[in-house]
């Protein structure tokens, strides 16, 4: 319970920071060469970077980028993956076989590598970054949905709906998806953590968010050149990134454990009957 409260607290904190950054856009490009590489002071609470820009302002802006990309990519991959997985699981037969082959090909390929190549080839920018990460991210949702839909297909309430002539997409949306939402939400939580790392990673490598914009990964990249004299340039965005990923991952663990114990409970009840 405390762990859950802690992770939700951290996520809400960064969410509020991101929203604050939208309502009151920070000045992330104001250059102050006098304050170059300045460690935290009362005027600049988190210090200044190699061009004397405010680390606080860039951190706030970075929170927005990180969460925006995470939410956009997770939504896009979840919708695409659930759509493909539901078709494969529901229709079955040759369609399922074909889609399963497609999933296999994507699984048999280190996704982030493809995302790197795609992001590099599509060119820099936030929308290309979202596209590149979405192209490779849908597979896990598709696999999960396929297996779950397959298992649900012959449940009594689904058979009843089918015999009453309810259209397939209505059955899947109204009678199947709500029942399999718990594992999908767990999957989405983990996916979000890995997208946050992937965005920061690609920006760190120079193929994601481009300067003069700000992203936590980009800040770590800039900072790693000045480790000797200005370690705060890495520590500030590093702590932000690690705390957010930690919180999202442990929220995933909490949700998964709760879901697992619910499932176990269900099967034991079933066996007793």
């Amino acid at each position: 319970m405390t762990r859950q409260a802690l992770s939700i607290g951290i996520i809400v904190f960064w969410l509020l920071i991101a929203i604050a950054g939208i309502l009151q856009p920070p000045d992330i490009t104001h250059i102050d060469l006098q304050g170059m590489l300045q460690a935290p002071t009362t005027e600049h609470l988190l210090g200044q970077d190699d061009l004397g820009r405010s680390q606080l302002a860039r951190l706030v802006y970075g929170a927005r980028i990180s969460l925006l990309v995470a939410v956009a990519v997770t939504l896009a991959t979840a919708i695409l993956g659930i759509f493909i997985g539901a078709i494969a699981g529901w229709v079955g037969g040759a369609v399922d076989h074909l889609l399963l082959r497609l999933i296999d090909v994507f699984m048999a390929f280190p996704g982030i590598l493809l995302a790197m190549a795609l992001a590099g080839i599509l060119g820099p920018g936030i929308s290309n970054l979202i596209i590149a990460l979405s192209v490779v991210g849908w597979v896990s949702f598709a696999r999960l949905t396929r297996a779950q839909v397959f298992a649900m297909k012959n449940r009594e309430h689904v058979l009843a709906a089918r015999s009453m002539g309810v259209l397939p997409h209505v059955i899947v949306l109204r009678h199947v998806l709500p029942l399999i939402s718990a594992p999908l939400i767990v999957e989405a939580t983990y996916a979000m953590a890995s997208v946050i790392i992937a965005e920061a990673g690609l920006s760190f490598l120079g193929i994601g968010i481009q300067p003069p914009e700000a992203s936590w990964g980009l800040m770590i990249r800039d900072g790693s050149r000045y480790l000797l004299i200005a370690p705060h340039m890495v520590l500030v965005p590093g702590l932000a990134l690690a705390s957010l990923v930690f919180a999202v991952n442990s929220l995933g663990d909490v949700l998964r454990d709760r879901n697992d114990s619910k499932m176990k409970h269900r099967t034991t009840l079933h066996n007793k009957k």
Partner: protein
């Protein structure tokens, strides 16, 4: 068994072929004319024509594909757009460097990862388990590109024990291998822990304990023997994390391997190198996974009979 091996190899070939096609079409995915993208708007028309011809982009698509495939079969991987050096020669120089980094990192992740995971599972829900779990969660939350600079800050700058970057001597491999290995260690530890916990819940473990077998005997003969197999397949998938981790780690430490080559050539828009680096990494990944699948089936007959 033979039919299982043949089927696995056939599906691996299919995947490799799909990757080859994907890699071929990567260059055609670029919105607009790739020549414009490579040379910029201001290039002279002579230069553009020369590059178009060099890339074979003036030919019809099926001829380009044909040339690409026959080049691959002859191991002629094209030349770097930048330096003109044969891509195969560049890869030949870079691949050993990546292995020299990845193998120590993998061992570093594997051995302590399994040991600590086993320990955490045996001490399930006790303090040792909680501490180890917390460490693993922190390991997962600190990606390579953050861990690398942090390790440099600690060991090179504050303590002055290890070099910052480069690959001049054996000492240089320590920090990059730690960077690459530690986060993988966290993943392997978590996987081992959950696999062992599952095995511990099995009836045969209860029977063994009821028969009066000592803890050591139960762990070695019953738990480990049944943990190895599921763990092995998940480990194969970790090769993907190893490869993408290598890309980041090599960039952090200026390590002249395949990963830094990929990033350099993406930035220079040197597409023949990008294509081939992605291809080499994918083939390696598919190969390792196919071999683990086969090893898995060889050890556990249930798999090859079921599949």
């Amino acid at each position: 068994m033979l039919s299982f091996v043949l089927r696995r190899f056939f599906s691996a070939l299919l995947v490799v072929f799909s990757v080859v096609m994907l890699v071929f079409f990567l260059i055609h995915l670029i919105p607009g004319d790739p020549v414009d993208v490579m040379l910029g708007e201001s290039a002279s028309s002579a230069d553009r024509r020369a590059l178009t011809r060099a890339l074979g982009l003036d030919l019809p698509l099926y001829q380009q594909l044909q040339a690409f495939l026959s080049g691959l079969l002859k191991l002629d991987l094209g030349n770097s757009l930048h330096s003109g050096i044969a891509v195969s020669e560049i890869l030949y120089q870079r691949i050993p460097q990546t292995l020299w980094l990845a193998i120590p990192a993998f061992l570093l992740a594997l051995i302590p990862g399994i040991a600590l995971g086993l320990l955490a599972a045996l001490k399930h829900n006790r303090r040792t388990d909680r501490v180890l779990q917390m460490m693993a969660m922190s390991g997962l939350a600190i990606p390579n590109f953050l861990l690398g600079p942090l390790l440099v800050l600690l060991f090179s700058i504050m303590l002055g024990w290890l070099p910052v970057s480069g690959n001049a001597s054996a000492v240089h491999v320590i920090l990059p291998a730690l960077t690459l290995g530690l986060s993988m260690m966290a993943i392997i530890m978590r996987m081992t822990r959950s696999t062992v916990l599952e095995v511990l819940g099995e009836d045969y473990i209860r029977t063994a304990i009821a028969k009066g077998a000592g803890t050591g005997r139960v762990v070695y003969q019953h738990v480990l023997a049944n943990t190895w197999i599921p763990l092995m397949t998940v480990m194969g998938a970790q090769i993907g994390a190893l490869l993408s981790g290598a890309v980041v780690t090599e960039t952090v430490f200026d390590w002249p391997g395949l990963g830094s080559l990929l990033i350099e050539s993406i930035q220079k828009r040197d597409y023949p190198i990008v294509q081939m680096t992605v291809l080499v990494m994918s083939i390696f990944y598919v190969l390792v996974n196919t071999l683990t699948d086969i090893a898995y089936a060889w050890v556990d007959p249930r798999i090859r009979l079921h599949d």
